[in-house]
């Protein structure tokens, strides 16, 4: 649902609810009862659903993830001027949607991937406001980065299938596809969000 429509729905619902609250006598007529039914049940349900969808969509945005101070360096790493730096290459070449860069790579594409990402997000909020916030460099993934996330986009692409590194051994590609050989932690593509490299780094574009 587009944001202007959601805001309009919430605004109209709010006005109806206020009308019923402040002018209770209008609910005595038959039309008033119908108005109360629409204003206190139908419209609020639709408006809240629209708001929920908007919030869920915003929660996948890069700006949302980087709104916590501890994530600042991870945001900077997207602008690192190095063709071998995986997050920067993906972000700067639009291999991932720039407005949803974090979410695209840090959710798994299984049935409950989005749900699990949201649970992790709630935990992050708890740690940010009620727990002990770790240093940026101490932040680790909950589980090893799954090949499936990379393969979600790369699988079947000619550049990926024919890359010399993926043809080192006859079974290299098969091992990658089956998850036996990790894309990230097997030593092949391990330069991911290396915050120590950012100290003396140059950045390609203005940091958002």
């Amino acid at each position: 649902m587009p944001l202007p429509l959601t805001l309009t729905l919430i605004g109209v619902s709010l006005a109806l609810a206020l009308l019923i609250a402040l002018r209770g006598s209008i609910t005595q007529s038959r039309e008033g009862k119908i108005l109360a039914f629409v204003g206190l049940l139908v419209m609020p349900v639709i408006a809240v659903w629209g708001g929920f969808q908007e919030h869920m969509d915003r929660a996948t945005s890069t700006g949302f993830c980087l709104s916590c101070h501890v994530m600042t360096d991870y945001g900077r790493s997207l602008h690192y001027d190095d063709a071998g730096y995986i997050p920067a290459v993906h972000y700067q070449n639009n291999f991932v949607p720039p407005e949803h860069a974090c979410y695209t790579c840090h959710t798994d594409y299984a049935m409950f991937g989005t749900f699990k990402a949201k649970l992790h997000g709630l935990r992050h909020i708890y740690v940010q406001y009620l727990g002990t916030v770790p240093k940026p460099a101490d932040i680790k993934l909950y589980a090893p980065f799954p090949n499936g996330t990379c393969l979600h986009c790369h699988l079947g692409a000619r550049k990926f299938e024919e890359a010399s590194g993926h043809q080192k051994q006859p079974d290299t590609l098969q091992k990658v596809k089956s998850g036996q050989l990790s894309c990230i932690s097997s030593g092949c593509h391990d330069t991911v969000h290396d915050l120590s490299a950012l100290k003396n780094a140059t950045f390609r574009s203005a940091i958002r």
């Binding site: 805001l7 019923i20 209770g24 005595q28 206190l40 809240v48 949302f64 709104s67």
Partner: protein, 65 residues
């Protein structure tokens, strides 16, 4: 209690919840999401449920002799 008073209360609850929902859509921030899910939605839902319960109570009193 008079149904009119119950409907006014339900209206106030729904309005308060929707106002919070509306305000939570201004900033793009995790706390705005928490405000929406943790405050706005429950208050709106409470108003809607209170409205339905007041209708139920009213229909029971009007059908009893």
């Amino acid at each position: 209690m008079n149904i009119k008073i119950k409907l006014r209360r339900a209206g106030l609850l729904v309005a308060a919840g929707l106002l919070l929902d509306l305000l939570s859509l201004i900033p793009i921030h995790p706390l705005a999401f928490i405000a929406f899910v943790g405050l706005g939605v429950p208050i709106t839902a409470a108003g809607t449920i209170y409205f339905l319960l007041s209708l139920l109570g009213d229909s029971e009193t009007s059908t009893n002799p």
